[in-house]
Amino acid sequence: MKKLSKLTKRILIGASLAFGVGLIALLAWIWHLDGIVTKQFEGRRWTLPAQVYAEPLELYVGQTFGADTLEQELRRLGYRRVDDPTLAGSYRRRGTRIDLVSRKFQFWDSLQESQQLTITTSGTAIASMSDAQNAEVPVFRLDPLLIGSIFPLHGEDRVIVAPDEVPALLPAALKVVEDRKFDTHHGVDVVAILRAIVANARAGQIEQGGSTLTQQLVKSYFLDNRRTIGRKIEEAFMAMLLEIHFEKPDLMNAYINEIYLGQDGARAVHGFGLASQFYFGKPLAELQLHEVALLVAMVRGPSYYDPRRHADRARARRDRILKLMAEYGIVEARAATVAAAKPLGTVMSGSSSGSYYPAFLDLVRRTLQRDYREEDLTEAGLKIFSTLNPPVQNQAEKALAQELDRLEKARKKPAPQKLEGVVVVTAPQNGEVIAMVGGRQAGFAGFNRALDSRRSIGSLVKPVVYLAAVQSGKFNAASIVEDAPMEVKLANGQLWKPKNYTEDFAGPVPLVRALSQSLNLATVNLGLAVGLPEVTKEFKALGLKEEPPQLPSVLLGAVDVAPIDVAQLYNAFANGGFNTPLRAVRSVLDGDGKPLKSFALEVTPVAESAAVYQVNQMMVQVMERGTGRGARALLPSGLVVAGKSGTSSDYRDSWFAGFSGTHLGVVWIGYDNNTPTGLTGSSGSLQVWARLMSAIGTTSWNAAQPETLQPVTVEFQTGLVARPDCGQEVLTIVVPQGTELPQKPGCELNGPGRSWWDRLIH
């Protein structure tokens, strides 16, 4: 007995000791959890990826928008068509008149309040704009499209919403569906857990979760995805601790911003703010009943109830939730029935706010990496105002994809690999990159060919050679160069024998023809006459990062350049001899909405305007009668454009670079492993370029002709001055005043009798 009681005593002592230690450990653990909960949750600092916006749409009288286009743009921004527009983000259309209520938006330079706007259109342009007081509005910016964010490697993306940006229906619906005792429980709902256990046991599988919203928040915010009993207990304690420290509305708002609602490639869509943009293309505040219900439906399983992939499933659950909402008196039964009759209403991924443009965002990111640390971009909630023009971007993606499909279908035997391509579009006058496609699958983030693929540019170099020639003062568009077989002795003693594309040669030709027909031998002769150093210097002057080596082969394009750098080079031509650093970002706001930085427009004269104008006129002839004429069938008639094709040796690279008055486009097509494609610049890239230019409503190249130049008519084949009604294939070139040009016998402009000018003028 004694022994036993001693044993019992020992057990009791041991047990109480163990209990004491356990209790202390438990308290310590709770204290530790409390530390985590209060410290991490107090500031409630989510890492906020920088949000990137497209360029805002400017509305003004004369803007070439018909009512249809304008309505299309409003829909793209998620504006809702209603009978009586009073809420931000809604509009009404009556024929050619559109009344809208804009959204409040913090631009980089000012806060724009929500306001009413009445726009009338006539034909294809805006005829008038006025505000609610009927006062004229000369110019107005719509809130820009959110095109993506710069999220960190683990991929959490979100758009934070304040309580006043949340429709009242959302918390109400969340409570009914997920946690009916939310307002009264202390973090854990024991009854709900028991009910869930019974239901799950009966069903033999997990059907109900008994977690409160607070527990769900804890799980998402603090814990990983492991489902163990230990985790559950930890979760329950942390939920209770949260409830001790924070008010219910705070917890609800945290939940709304935290919870996972879907996956978009590498990025995880967190919070209802981003989910609203991702699924509906508009701010959370503007969601209607059926849309709120759909998002709430997805909480339980964002991929299982993904409305884009499993529409039926998502719809069934949405409608169940609408029913529940009516049952619990959050909405009237009739409203729920009406909402249940509506379609899901999700926007296509890739066509609206949910989409993102990896190649372009890559450029944005690289631009900003010069000034900001990675953490600033992925965590500090910056707002980045980019230069992307979504309609042009969409057309660029489409033009490339369609043309590559067509080229591959036209092949007799299937190619071992897929053709790839790049499109870069800029606004030449301000150097803004308005579209960028980095590969055939535009939505796929991967190797960004537009920035990183340096390929031989072939005849794209020629305009630079011709510019150097014209700037030397010794040549003009009618000057004669010899297109004949030649040998050039290189520095290493070898003989270089360049050939023409046709293996033929044209003899003496004027510059304008040599460039139009992309004659290699004439160009090499010209380049050597001007001097290699003069030519290679010109590349650098126009904006190429590195001066090419002073080798004769450079005259035919043996120089590797990335498409974005080709765009920079040609931008100088399109911009009349001014270099403007290409930009993808206009400005940056910090997390509090204060202006951080702007990337201002800069211009630098890098070539004589008159010389550039003459070369541009020659590039117009490339499109009229040279290697670019294949574009004419696709382009609107009368549209004046200038450009140049490029084909590298053995048809490895197909290039085209060309511009109108308002757009410069550079297109590349080739294989990633640099094997021959069998395509020339004209048979490949030119077609993409022409499709794009015809789709985006661009304007003619009509730069002002410098006062030192005069037009004169010459024969395309011979370069001889001739009256238009007399010579063969007569075209107009521009040359400096006072230039003397040989005339075609019998077709003299200042021949006997009245001069050509006299007749033209009178």
């Binding site: 110019v139 004669i480 305007s609």
Partner: protein
């Protein structure tokens, strides 16, 4: 490679002789307008005057003086420029420049807007960009003497601010010259 296959020096002296020797028509000389405007290219402050016309070559009738066509601002641009001017008056130069850039996206070919942007840069102390903006404006203000004059004035101011007085005087002269 020169186009002048017949010796133009000889042509100056004896047109008929040269014509006979070459058996081709005399070269065509591209005419100049009646009034010779200053170089608009503006890549260098020095004027390039056309070579004197040789007496011996029959001239085509000089072109009539071009019609003067000064640019104007659209109402959208006017509103944005007014906004920019008040922002610049408040020394908020980046925002003022952003307002003019908005207008430039609407009217990229309007030299008046490039001049306005240049003025903001000048006030801000970015004299090189002020000059460059003015040169950009010059390249598009053809047959617009008043606009050219304003642009040259801005170039003169920009040079002066950098202490380049000789160049400033030259630009000032051009400003006064073309405005006549």
């Amino acid at each position: 490679m020169s186009v002048k296959r017949c010796s133009s020096a000889a042509a100056l002296l004896a047109v008929l002789l040269v014509l006979g020797a070459c058996a081709v028509p005399q070269p065509y000389r591209v005419p100049s307008p009646a009034t010779t405007p200053t170089s608009p290219s503006g890549s260098s402050p020095t004027t390039t005057t056309p070579a004197p016309t040789p007496e011996a070559i029959p001239e085509p009738t000089p072109l009539p003086a071009p019609v003067v066509k000064e640019p104007t601002l659209s109402s959208a641009s006017r509103a944005l420029v007014a906004q920019a001017q008040s922002q610049a008056a408040a020394k908020n130069f980046p925002v003022a420049a952003a307002s003019i850039e908005r207008a430039l996206r609407i009217e990229p070919d309007n030299p008046l807007l490039w001049i306005e942007l240049g003025k903001v840069r000048q006030e801000e102390g970015n004299y090189v960009q002020a000059e460059n903006m003015a040169r950009k404006a010059l390249s598009m203000s053809i047959n617009a003497p008043r606009t050219q004059s304003t642009a040259w004035k801005l170039i003169a101011d920009s040079y002066r601010a950098r202490g380049k007085n000789v160049e400033a005087q030259d630009a000032q002269r051009r400003s006064e010259g073309v405005s006549r």
